[in-house]
């Protein structure tokens, strides 16, 4: 592998992993925020009833 090949391999793996983690984190956060909002609205319904 050429010197630039090693450089691009390292940069590629690092930025791919960081982006993957960022997107996965955002998806996890979105999922739990939806769950929280559902729980809150069902709590409001119970209280109103």
């Amino acid at each position: 592998m050429s010197p630039w090949g090693f450089v691009f391999l390292a940069y590629g793996i690092v930025w791919a992993a960081l982006l993957l983690y960022l997107f996965r984190l955002k998806r996890r956060l979105h999922k739990v925020e939806v769950e929280l909002s559902d729980l809150r609205s069902s709590g409001d319904l119970k209280r109103d009833a």
């Binding site: 010197p3 450089v7 992993a17 984190l25 956060l29």
Partner: protein
Amino acid sequence: MQKGKGRRILGGLALLFVLLGLYFGLIVAPPDGYQGEVQRIMYLHIPSILTAYLSFFIVFVGSCLFLWKREKRDDILAYSAAEIGVLFTGLTIIEGSIWGKPTWGVWWTWDARLTLTAILFLIFVGYLMLRSLIEDEDRGAVCSAVLGIIGFLDIPLIHMSVYWWRTLHQPPSILRPDKMPWENVHPSMLIALSINFVAIILLYFYLLSLRLRLGETEEEVKTLKLYGGVS
């Protein structure tokens, strides 16, 4: 609302510095006289390991505070920092391995610094596993806080390993007791390194703020499920 805006600004700044870092690291900085182009991996390698050290320092502080005051937010802070610290330590090992092949001729060697970094990685993978393996959540938090404190003690060993043992890994380029960074690294390389360091640190705090928000929201969901009402 204010926190969300601050987080978006932090994310935007991180993106700006990441792009600047790529430009300076891959285009502006000159190739090293001895190692040639592969030395450009340094612009990722040093910021990654310093960020991992910072992350485990936050785990250490959060764990000490949790054991002292038993407040859930300190545990969430330590847990969040540990998760991101493991990511940066893993990436440091991968970058080092890719840099090691063209410079040392091997992907891996049982050098003192490399071995101690691998041990640090395994300690904090163990920390994350503890959280999911112990069913009693409070007990899991206490056990992992103790492991987080013990694990942090590996970092001074990693830093001093290149002085205490005859190792293949070079001595530190930046955090040296005998020289200032600009006496040891060429200014054009130091600028590229500094920009990449700022980029990785900004990205780290952006990821940490998201991970903290996730931990806090999960806690709120658990409380609502437990008491079945609105908090």
